[in-house]
Symmetry: C2
Subunit: 324 residues, 2 copies
């Protein structure tokens, strides 16, 4: 495969080339993987999209928000890519964003590109493919890459680690209590958006937003934040209220981080982390890729299960055989 030519087509913004490239990086075949690695190496590197991680549990109106927010951005002449990371897609068989009709307008928009979560059994595999798809979209000239996830398990942390900004979308709370937002999530959020600030829920949304703003003030200030960040705002994906304000805040934060070099430092740390993770995954893959190693693992595992040897001793034997 001529990966150089493909890289050039992507750089010219050819949609079909982008789709082909994504299929390539999502493939499990060894020759595809080799081609994907060459392709990633050949990509344009002087284009930087704003990578926005977006998390919200089902029911907060995530699709409606992305539809409205994404359409607003394309209306301003920006190119928007929407990627999904769904840790449960392997089990459920389905995937979020699989049904593009959830974002009817955006999916027909020539300046928008929507890609469902890759079907993968392991979160690590999803992470790698998503990171590579982000790079492809960036090289294809997308200005904003939205990476959405459901707030389950480790997926939020994972998405935050591949984004420049992390946005948490919430619904107005019923009572006067904070919703079951994990403390860890509060600490990685750059912006909290309380959705559904319209009609009957307006007052509840304002209260919820004030609660979160208060909670955010209790957290220690992070070096990568200018004064006043992280922020909590209300938005309405239905009426569009607050959406342009939210985008202005994201731009202001981006601007500040670019000027203070936090932007670059974060991207560098992420790239390094991604490299290290690839090495770790590659090492572990040897245990299953090589038939001899796989057979030896099975054999020693059976001996351990029978009690013929201890797990520690069997592991040492296995590691020794891998060394030889």
């Amino acid at each position: 495969m001529d990966t150089q030519a493909l890289a050039e087509q992507i750089a010219r913004g050819e949609r079909r080339a982008l789709a082909r490239a994504i299929t390539l990086v999502e493939s499990g075949r060894a020759d595809h993987r080799a081609a994907a690695t060459r392709l990633l190496e050949a990509l344009e590197t002087d284009r930087q999209a704003i990578r926005i991680g977006l998390s919200g549990t089902p029911g907060v109106g995530k699709s409606t928000f992305i539809e409205a927010f994404g359409s607003m951005l394309t209306g301003q002449g920006l190119k928007v890519a929407v990627l999904a990371v769904d840790p449960s897609s392997a089990r459920s068989g389905g995937s979020i964003l699989g049904d593009k009709t959830r974002m009817e307008k955006l999916s027909r928009d020539p300046n928008a590109f929507i890609r469902p979560s890759p079907a993968q059994s392991q979160l690590g595999g999803v992470a790698r493919r998503t990171r590579e798809v982000i790079r492809l979209c960036e090289a294809a000239g997308y200005d904003v890459v939205l990476i959405e996830t459901v707030g389950v398990g480790q997926s939020e942390t994972m998405v935050a680690e591949m984004a420049d900004l992390f946005v948490l979308l919430l619904a107005p709370a019923g009572g006067d209590e904070l919703q079951g937002v994990k403390r860890g999530i509060m600490e990685i959020a750059d912006l909290i958006l309380v959705n559904k600030a319209d009609g009957e829920l307006q007052a509840a949304a304002n209260r919820t937003c004030a609660d979160y703003a208060g909670a955010l003030r209790l957290l220690r200030k992070r070096p990568q934040d200018p004064e006043g960040f992280p922020k909590a705002l209300t938005v309405s994906a239905v009426t569009g209220a607050g959406l342009s304000g939210a985008w202005e805040e994201m731009q202001a934060l981006t601007e500040w981080r670019r000027e203070t070099d936090h932007w670059t430092a974060r991207r560098q740390a992420q790239a390094r982390h991604w490299f290290e993770e690839e090495v770790r995954q590659g090492l572990l893959a040897r245990l299953t890729a090589d038939p001899d190693a796989r057979a030896r693992m099975a054999e020693l595992g059976a001996a351990v299960a029978r009690g013929d040897t201890s797990p520690a001793m069997a592991a040492e034997e296995m590691l020794e055989s891998l060394r030889g």
Copy 2:
């Protein structure tokens, strides 16, 4: 070091030998590790304690429960070991059970052995050491090994994976709602104990217990459970009410699983899993143990951060150099 002699001393129930062996398996030194592996191989294998995983968030009265429950067991002539797994001990510097005065009676009991959580930076390291300490306690003739953990992150799953039974300790809830118990935890619990079923909280404890019993009935029946399990019971660590009943249920469950071979199957699966995990950790350790590999990782990581190469390409180069 004469690991054979040490194994024999442990088998005779010599406390000091057990303590020395634990220090050995908890050590990070390479020669200690080698000795620990030999020791584990030399241990008696025909003794099987009941390994009970116990989880409960701070405030449910875990220490008081262990003190009362453990003393009841030693009072019946049983030998009891209490181990702690604290995923946060590395960060906080302290460790649960570090302060033995929390279990004043049990810590002076000649038939009880209490060991705080090993200080470790990684949950994987804690897991390995704890598993090995369990084996040591078992070989030393302890009849019951209690492995306690705070219900944080992955630590509960980890403890469940090294235990024969998993017990979840809860406090009476204020309202009529289930407490913030993660669904995943409900699914691994064999027994739910609602503590503080005494005095003013008796009624609330009964209600909470009934709520959980109802919730447990909604879960799919697991093959490893006899009729009626998992169960929810009320106990009071302060008055001792329900403790012997809880122990009887644990024994009944153990008995049933032994007869139906689920007991053995679970232990075999755990041993196999432990072996595989050891192999994985051992492989990854090569990245940091060898100075050349470490230097190469740092070098390639810097190149990736500078944007000179892609993470995927650099990872391939690194894996190639490890292969050579």
